[in-house]
Symmetry: C2
Subunit: 152 residues, 2 copies
């Protein structure tokens, strides 16, 4: 698709980024259902954010960390955590540093279900890219890396 | 970044897509706060999905359409809609086709706040891309378009 004079490349890029993020919103509900049939996308987002934050907060992830990152109301966070506990995907354990504080731990079941759902998502992406040349795949990866770096 | 033999381009691409989607989860909370200081990311996702669905459902968007698309529990949907109504961003109006049914309408305030927040997001992307050549911007737009088409 060549850019038309009235549609600069930036507008084209914004449109495609919007398409990608819109799909991500929709597929996040489907992936949630793969993790657990009773998991909704709001609680799924909390679960995947606990997984993300474990990388940068090795001392443990508190509910407040997740709520702050996602900017979720405290009541929404509490309800999501209750759902995740009831489904056996997440548990709250006492913090070793502060007996009054609780840390969020993904259960082995939660980790297994998340890993399986993420692998299925990867397989779908790999399938969609089945006809791409290695050169195009590599080029997109490098341009996205640059975009991510510049947005950081 | 050249792909190493043990890291095929597909793995690089998956990593960068994951980075992009992770940022989208985090920034969606910040954008929600720009739309209204008391708006959380869960209700924001409902609002932006109403806006998306208006494009494909010209007869009107029902709460069930949004809930189905996002795979949100009915109780979560109800609470999000109540929040959006209380903040003056969304209203429920009777359907012209079915007096018992309600359609979701974004209020003029909601539309104005969403438009402003989306424009600010676009400005941040444009700023991040300030040093990119038109050629690179165009190339990324075309590769993302192909990815979106292939994922559809």
């Amino acid at each position: 698709m060549a850019s038309r004079p009235d549609a600069p490349p930036l507008a084209d890029l914004e449109r495609e980024l919007t398409r990608l993020l819109r799909r991500a919103r929709v597929t996040s509900g489907a992936i949630a259902a793969e993790v657990h049939p009773d998991l909704d996308s709001s609680s799924y987002t909390v679960l995947i954010t606990v997984l993300d934050l474990q990388q940068v907060l090795p001392a443990g992830v508190r509910a407040a960390d997740v709520g702050e990152q996602l900017r979720l109301h405290k009541s929404t966070m509490s309800r999501n955590i209750t759902v995740l506990e009831q489904l056996g995907l997440l548990e709250r354990v006492p913090s070793p540093d502060d007996a009054r504080a609780r840390l969020l731990h993904i259960t082995p079941t939660g980790r297994h279900q998340l890993t399986t759902a993420i692998a299925a998502r990867r397989a779908r992406i790999a399938d969609a890219l089945g006809k791409w040349s290695g050169e195009d795949t590599d080029h997109l990866a490098r341009l996205l890396q640059r975009l991510n770096d510049d947005l950081d």
